[in-house]
Amino acid sequence: MSLLSTLARLEAVRGQRAEPLATVRHRHLSDRPMVLVPLAAAGEAGAPLAVLLGTDRDAPRLHLVPQPLNRTQRSEFLAAMAADVVPYLESFGEQVELLEGSEKDPVSGEKLPVVRELCADAPQLVVPNAAGVAHLALLGRSTRFRRTAEDPDPGEYPAPTQVPLLGRWLTHLTDRAQVPGSSMLLSMTGLLARHWATGQSNLEDQHLAARMAWHLSPSGLEPPATGAVAAEWVESARDAEGLLVHPPAGPSTDPKFDERVLAPAILRYDAAVAVRVRAEGSRDAAESERAAGLVERARAELARVLLAAALPTWHDVWHGLELLRELPPADHLPDRWEGDRWSFTMHRDRVAAGEPPQPRRDDAVTAARKLAQREREQAKLEIQEALDDPLAMAERRLAGEAFAGEVVDVVPEWSAGRSPKPRPLLVVRTGDRPHADPGREVYRAHAEPAQRAEIVSAESGEVVVRLLSGMGRRKDPEPGSVPEVGSRVVFTLFELAPRQSAPLPEPADTPWTHGGPPVVGEDSPAGADEWE
């Protein structure tokens, strides 16, 4: 934890309110996000119980598994969820930009012009917390290999076409969510943690309602309050029946809710189904109708209690989005969102091309490539956040990795040699104490084009740097390329462009140290269902 975020936490404790950690919004927010509040059944890893989802705050749709142990009902649930989510995801694939580029012909080596499609926008899923992301990853893993009626060997239980498609999309989105700075699948607790500090521990911050209680007084709390008292109230207040007033954000549900509300409701549903089976056996039309009505009512009752369990979280997520929208967007958001759009476009193309689902495990080369991409994006994110946000830069300045100040003197000097180049000295007055030894290269923030300099001397209160580049090709610097006396400058000790990652071999060339090339098909058994 940095000094600045420690301070923000202390101030949050003192004020009993969330304290800003950012002056701008560092994650892209879609105009049309889809919020998902998934709930899981206890006792089995990743077993879906219900999901509350939608793009309209006032019209959430609930899908549920009335009997969570029943595999047929689970299939029906996934089909219904897929029918809701997949059209939303695919709707972003229709509008595209055409980008002209060139590609090397693999045979002749010539550069050939190509036109590539880039989707104009990409979908955005928002879940309450990191456990929600993990739950979607499990759903993706368990559905992307499902066989459909269109498969050559559909098996005994073919799923609707959209179910494996949903699995592939969820796998793609949860994988992409691991890339720092990406915004296609976000958790609300993660979003809030980046932008505000609370006066409670990181662990407590994982509880969405407790976290929100540092921003807004929770509904139902009398008298209204924010901070630790409110957080404790939403975490632990129970009604006369012993149920949490504010249910947890899932996917796990409150055990007391499971015991006193959910289990009896499931039991009644099972009983109604048993009655219906008996009635169907008796061939009595009136009896069958009455039994069907019983099942219908039991199901409606289940829907009612599950909706009540998910709805407070649904509102918390939308409240969180509202809070975030109040922050102005950071300058580099479009740049990073374009990365998400490429990621979306490429997955769309893979699906359209009929490629098989993502393998169960990454091979050695794919894993290394993904790691390299994540590290590159992490470096990029840190740089862009520092450039976009004075508070983020302040953290780097406090850590001695940057300094900001006023130019108090400019000494024009030139390099030696036949064609001297400008190498002016800047004297910068600063209260920062950069870890800068003479000779160390530094980079000027917000310089266009990029500008390097080197530290000449660093006394307390005054740093002298020599500009080395970004001043044009002539003997005298281009106008405006050297900061004037009185202007404010920021120099960083970290590079402002992330380094390229080194090339990796093709999977087919995996070396002996890593077990040689992967065996095709070993990790993606067609049609293998993890549940059956």
């Binding site: 000094l3 420690t6 994988d175 691991q178 720092p180 495990r361 990454d362 091979d363 050695a364 080369v365 894993a367 290394a368 993904k370 790691l371 390299a372 994540r374 590290e375 992490q378 850590a399 001695g400 104490r433 870890h435 030894d437 000779g439 080194a502 090339p503 990796l504 071999p505 060339d509 995996t510 070396p511 002996w512 140290t513 890593h514 077990g515």
Partner: protein
């Protein structure tokens, strides 16, 4: 699992009675045999586990010479630029007849020590170095080399520090390789999430040696059994705390290494700690318990004052190599974080202690990561847990403490706030257990306690 390769007996079991020199020679001879004269069908890799200061660099130099003498062209992979420069310097001095190419990045010039030799050529393009007997560079730079001219033989130095994905990128360049490293040092790390690959044999964020051994079960690691760096006061502790299943011993016996102060103690706690360290090899300079920010000003001042007094008191280091005055270049300060190192450097500069190597002999102040593979007469360590309210996985990492506590030939002085034992007891390690990931022994918690227990026998309180 079956082992088709040669079984390497534990040198301590077989050679426990041998004098250290002989035991080490036997181990080295076995390794060189396996590298230079591999038996038909032998695995393509040879792995050597080397505890701190066990002659790893000497082994690399000897292996390089023998391979070149046998007519091989050799590539050497090290992990950092300073390791590469050190190795070039050492290789060029020990083998003046060998032509050495130093491949470097276009924006990073090699250190002057590496370039002062007539047999060293430094270039940023590998094509300019193909005629050299040996080409040395960092793993990061080797990854960019195109594989048109594969070397047959490679040496990978500090292989436990190398990440699996780096090995994946460079393994195409060679057919056989000698991997040398210290398994007790810091594991490679990354700042991004890698949980999804935990348990895979080729987890890209794990150590290169772990991946190599998982895919080549026929490789049995060799071991170097004797630490020539650590004094008799330190080897047993480091061996039992950090290498419980692969013990080693010191090359020198008790009393063979001494530190003699030339100037008498002034009665301060700092001087008492220096005397204690000179006497016993260890000292714990303990400040009152307190929760502090990372750059704890009092602890930093205590570290700097200790270094100042070490130099002022004109100590003489006597060892099997003769006696030499303890000068700034033979002292190092180790910290856990870079900002702590920077704060110590600033404080030392204020006290007039040289810290800039560009201006002459200077005290080294660096983090554990950067001190790996280095050796000094005396080290002053700011304890990673000093003043902390919590003990995170980072601060508990076994390798970090192991590096900091095993850089010295004579003595190690640890500066810490009181209360670390209690802090440890309040923070048992709670890392999630991942399927398929071998549990690492010892865990940092236990190793920290072992070291602390020993240090507390040499405690000096600073009020």
């Amino acid at each position: 699992m079956s082992f088709s390769g040669e079984l390497v007996p534990n040198p301590l079991d077989a050679a426990g009675a041998l004098p250290p020199g002989e035991a080490a020679d036997r181990a080295v001879a076995g390794i060189l045999d396996a590298v230079v004269r591999p038996r038909p069908g032998a695995p393509r890799g040879v792995v050597v586990d080397s505890p701190p200061g066990a002659g790893k660099s000497t082994l690399v130099v000897r292996a390089a010479r023998e391979l070149v003498d046998a007519g091989e062209r050799l590539m050497i992979v090290a992990q950092t630029n300073s390791q590469v420069d050190d190795l070039v310097d050492r290789l060029a001095s020990k083998a003046p007849e060998m032509s050495i190419g130093r491949l470097h990045a276009s924006d990073a010039k090699p250190a002057p020590e590496a370039l002062r030799h007539a047999n060293v050529t430094a270039k940023d393009k590998v094509a300019d170095l193909l005629e050299q007997d040996v080409v040395i560079s960092t793993a990061a730079k080797w990854q960019w080399v195109k594989a048109e001219q594969p070397w047959r033989q490679a040496i990978v130095d500090e292989a436990y520090q190398m990440r699996s994905d780096a090995l994946l990128a460079v393994a195409r360049l060679f057919e056989r390789a000698l991997f040398v490293g210290d398994p007790g040092q810091l594991d490679p790390f990354t700042v991004v999430g890698t949980d999804q690959w935990a348990g895979l044999s080729y987890d890209p964020s794990s150590s290169a040696v772990v991946t190599l051994l998982a895919h080549n079960p026929a490789i049995r690691p060799h071991r170097l059994p004797v630490s020539w760096r650590l004094p008799a006061s330190a080897a047993p502790l480091i061996s039992s705390a950090f290498y419980p299943y692969t013990p080693f011993r010191s090359g020198t016996g008790p009393g063979e290494r001494t530190l003699r102060p030339g100037v008498r103690a002034d009665g301060s706690a700092v001087d008492t700690a220096i005397d204690e360290a000179a006497e016993s090899g260890w000292a714990l300079l303990e400040l009152p318990a307190r929760h502090t920010v990372r750059t704890d000003a009092q602890a930093v001042a205590a570290v700097a004052q200790t270094v100042r007094r070490l130099l002022d008191r004109e100590l003489t280091a006597v060892s099997e190599q003769g006696s030499a005055p303890l000068t700034a270049g033979r002292v190092a300060v180790g910290t856990a974080h870079r900002d702590q190192a920077a704060a110590v450097r600033a404080e030392l500069a204020r006290l007039g202690v040289p810290v800039d190597p560009a201006l002459g002999e200077a005290v080294t102040v660096d983090t554990a990561n950067r001190l790996q593979g280095r050796e000094y007469d005396v080290t002053v360590v700011l304890h990673p847990l000093s003043g902390r309210p919590d003990a995170t996985a980072f601060h508990l990492e076994t390798g970090r403490l192991c590096v900091l506590a095993s850089r010295h030939r004579h003595a190690c002085i640890v500066v810490a706030r009181a209360g670390i034992a209690e802090l440890l007891d309040e923070h048992p390690s709670t890392e999630p257990v991942q399927l398929g990931v071998a549990v690492k022994f010892p865990d940092g918690w236990e190793a920290n306690h072992a070291v602390l227990a020993r240090l507390s026998e040499h405690r000096v309180r600073l009020s």
